[in-house]
């Protein structure tokens, strides 16, 4: 049973998927403009921005949206009216309105998946857009597909550091979903009403574990190394899904000491596909490199530089230091087993987004990945391509935007 003038959920999903499909075309004029604007804002190279936009819009397809809603709410129909549930009262879900989505200034299109599900929930949504106006451009496309849907969205840019502007947007919200640094999230939280639902996505990092079985021969090692390199270099290592620490198990045909230079060479290959957004290594990377070189001169570890672009692979850095959370810099730690990786994560209280693994059955590795605090376990090489249907940061996709109503 739908409310007066309300779009059915199926129609909303179709409109969103159709708009996203237009954005999958790299020649779509709004996308061309957005690509330039994102490059200008972030400094990433065009292939990197293209990859980001491809991943973003390709993931927003009808079946993925519907499967996600059905998975979290039981059925898409529950957004339009009451549905029966086994052993529980019938339920329907209404959008928590107004909902506010605050995109981080340092990511690409992070607000859009959230916007998709907020609209599916039939919430009235305000999006804090960034200077590239990507969210606004997508909403314009949505307006062409389904004007009534686009009218439910307000896209604005406001100054986060201005408490008055922030308060005006946040004080009445029922739901606020925000991305950003701890400081930015704290500032937002401080402006919310007591009962506002606040879903915060802070900065995190990702690691991976290469089991010895994956290094059974040279070709296998090269393949794993390419996967690791891709996860480490995409977005210049700036993303929460960027690989910063790679634990490599001893006991395979290829020893971790031999694997590290293979990763460095693989980085050179990946750098051709995804060039760095900077021409010279940032200062902190240079300092880290010098320290690693000093240790290497003393026989502890090794350092491998990029040839075609700046990157750094540090082999066997001190485990009493956190990983180098630096652009295009990857630490490779030799270990005897997954518990060593877990101990490292716990020692440094690393907030993990993803835990990368290689194909193959290793229940002990999976057990450690589950204990690590990561919200996602993914195959190496796929860290930077999370599916829409997976929970983001451990949170549901549509759940934050709905309130349940059950009928007794």
């Amino acid at each position: 049973m739908q409310g007066h003038g309300e779009l059915a959920a199926g129609r909303i999903v179709a409109a969103l998927a159709a708009a996203a499909e237009r954005w999958c075309n790299a020649d779509f004029p709004p996308r061309i403009r957005a690509t330039r604007a994102v490059m200008e804002r972030t400094g990433y190279t065009e292939p990197v921005v293209d990859f980001a936009l491809d991943r973003l819009f390709e993931s927003i397809d009808r079946s993925a949206i519907e499967a996600t809603i059905a998975g979290e709410l039981g059925s898409v129909a529950a957004l339009d009216g009451f549905v029966e549930r086994a052993g529980r009262p019938p339920v329907s879900f209404r959008g928590a309105s107004p909902a506010v989505i605050v995109a981080s200034d340092t990511t690409i299109g992070v607000a859009l998946p959230a916007l998709v599900f907020a609209l599916c929930a039939k919430a009235q949504v305000t999006v804090k857009d960034r200077d590239d106006r990507l969210a606004a451009a997508f909403v314009e496309t949505l307006a062409e597909e389904e004007p009534a849907l686009a009218q439910r969205v307000t896209v604005e840019v406001w100054e986060g550091g201005d408490p008055a502007q922030s308060r005006a947007h946040l004080s009445d919200a029922q739901v606020v979903l925000a991305y950003g640094s701890d400081a930015a999230l704290r500032a937002i939280r401080a402006q919310l009403a007591a009962q506002t639902r606040f879903v915060a996505f802070g900065h995190r990092t990702s690691i991976a574990y290469v089991a010895r079985e994956a290094l059974c021969d040279e070709m296998a090692a090269i393949s794993v190394a390419r996967d690791a390199a891709r996860d480490a270099l995409l977005y210049d290592g700036d993303g929460c899904l960027s690989l910063h620490a790679l634990f490599v198990e001893r006991g395979g045909a290829i020893a971790p000491r031999e694997f590290a230079p293979t990763v460095a060479r693989a980085c050179d290959h990946v750098a051709i596909e995804f060039p760095a957004g900077f021409r010279r290594a940032p200062a902190a990377v240079a300092a880290y490199r010098r320290a690693a070189l000093f240790r290497a001169a003393a026989g502890r570890g090794a350092v491998y530089d990029g040839i075609v672009s700046p990157h750094l692979v540090a082999y066997d850095p001190p485990v009493d230091e956190p990983p180098p959370l630096l652009p295009r810099t990857l630490a490779v730690y030799p270990v005897d087993g997954p518990q060593e990786a877990l101990a490292y994560v716990q020692r440094h209280a690393l907030p993990l987004e993803a835990f990368g693994v290689v194909a193959g059955k290793r229940p002990d590795v999976e057990a450690v990945a589950r204990q690590s605090g990561a919200s996602r376990i993914a195959l190496l090489g796929r860290l930077q391509a999370p599916p829409l249907g997976g929970e983001h940061g451990g949170e549901g996709r549509i759940l934050p935007f709905v309130r349940a109503i059950y009928r007794q």
Partner: protein
């Protein structure tokens, strides 16, 4: 010390310091070059970790640097990876611990002879902080050197307080308990009652904490004439950073000490000698730091190549006082050369934050 070469180098260094302290030039470029290379040669033979590192640059006892600019610089972080000493650390008269940043591990700077450190310290401090030879009361917002004997800043201010102070120095900072604001108020009022000018000394971080505490109670103070402040950087590893100009403005307001009487000191645990704001730039928003002639700095790019004057880069210090450790040290500090001195850059200009990745500062803030 049963080491003739070390004695020779130390005597040469002390001679330069004494000459400069007495108003002489200290050393010219040629003398600096000669002594820096001699010190490097000595360290290549006596400091095994440094020698191994230098060898990766093609420098060894048989292939020595041709000028002081070619001396391989050890990264400052190397002090926590190795014992960088030409002496047995057990025989070092001073051992200072470096502060850890992201890691828990502290490095150690072993100084074979305290006399070298004291001589360099007092000559620089007299020149830049006490040109009027004032006997000040030292209100040190730094660790008490008796309690934290491995704090170089504590030792520095302890030495100055004893040898240059009025005998009533106070220590108002403890790493566990933070700033002792009540103790500060008491000490300040006592100095005012005695009409005794003070030197308030501390890291920028500690001074901010002190100001926060005093401003929370709306407390302001009028400093006795001749008072001054020595601020010594020190936001490394801290989640909160303030601009220097903002800090100085707050200090002026709180204590009635003009910005020209607030002197920025720049030193490192890994160095024996210090930089200070040059007198001529203390009224300017851009302060040029000056050093004694035995401490020279190259501004280098990420690959270690010297950049042009005015161009930003990393600071590589060559300190003749570092005879018993490493004479040349690469730092993560950034700045540029200007008129014979250096200007420190407060933040990295070429690394605007991008992405949603955790950064080291986040981790520090969460752990703290």
């Amino acid at each position: 010390m049963n080491d003739a070469r070390a004695r020779e180098l130390d005597d040469a260094f002390l001679g330069i310091v004494a000459n400069w302290a007495a108003g002489g030039p200290g050393c010219d470029e040629a003398r600096f070059d000669e002594l820096a290379r001699a010190t490097c040669g000595y360290q290549l033979e006596r400091n095994a970790p440094y020698a191994r590192y230098a060898a990766t640059f093609g420098i060894d006892p048989a292939h020595r640097p041709r000028t002081w600019r070619e001396i391989p610089a050890a990264p400052a972080s190397a002090f926590k990876d190795a014992v960088l000493a030409t002496c047995d650390p057990r025989e070092a008269e001073l051992i200072f611990h470096t502060s850890g940043t992201t890691a828990d591990v502290a490095g150690r700077h072993c100084i074979a002879r305290a006399r070298l450190y004291d001589a360099a310290l007092l000559a620089g401090f007299d020149r830049f902080i006490l040109p009027d030879r004032a006997k000040l009361r030292y209100l040190n917002v730094v660790p008490n050197p008796r309690l934290r004997r491995h704090s170089s800043l504590g030792y520095m201010m302890g030495t100055v307080s004893v040898l240059r102070g009025d005998g009533h120095a106070e220590y108002l900072f403890d790493e566990d308990r933070g700033v002792d604001a009540a103790g500060f108020v008491h000490a300040w009022e006592s100095a005012v009652a005695d009409a005794q000018p003070v030197c308030l000394a501390g890291t920028a971080f500690a001074l901010v904490a002190l100001l926060d505490a005093l401003e929370a109670n709306a407390q302001r103070f009028a400093a006795p004439a001749g008072s001054r402040i020595m601020e010594t950087g020190g936001f490394k590893g801290r989640a909160r950073v303030v601009e220097r100009t903002e800090l100085y403005a707050r200090l002026e307001t709180a204590f009635g000490i003009t910005a020209a009487s607030i002197v920025g000191e720049y030193g490192m645990t890994e160095l024996v000698s210090q930089y200070y704001d040059g007198v001529e730039s203390r009224d300017s928003t851009i302060r040029v730091k000056r050093s004694p002639p035995w401490l020279r700095t190259l501004v280098v790019d990420a690959e270690g190549r010297q950049v042009n004057d005015g161009e930003a880069g990393f600071l590589r210090h060559v300190d003749l006082g570092n005879r018993s450790s490493v004479v040349a040290i690469d730092t993560e500090d950034r700045g540029y050369a200007s008129g014979g001195g250096i200007v420190l850059l407060e933040r990295e200009l070429d690394a605007a934050p991008r992405g949603c990745s955790l950064v080291a500062e986040d981790l520090i803030a969460r752990v703290r």
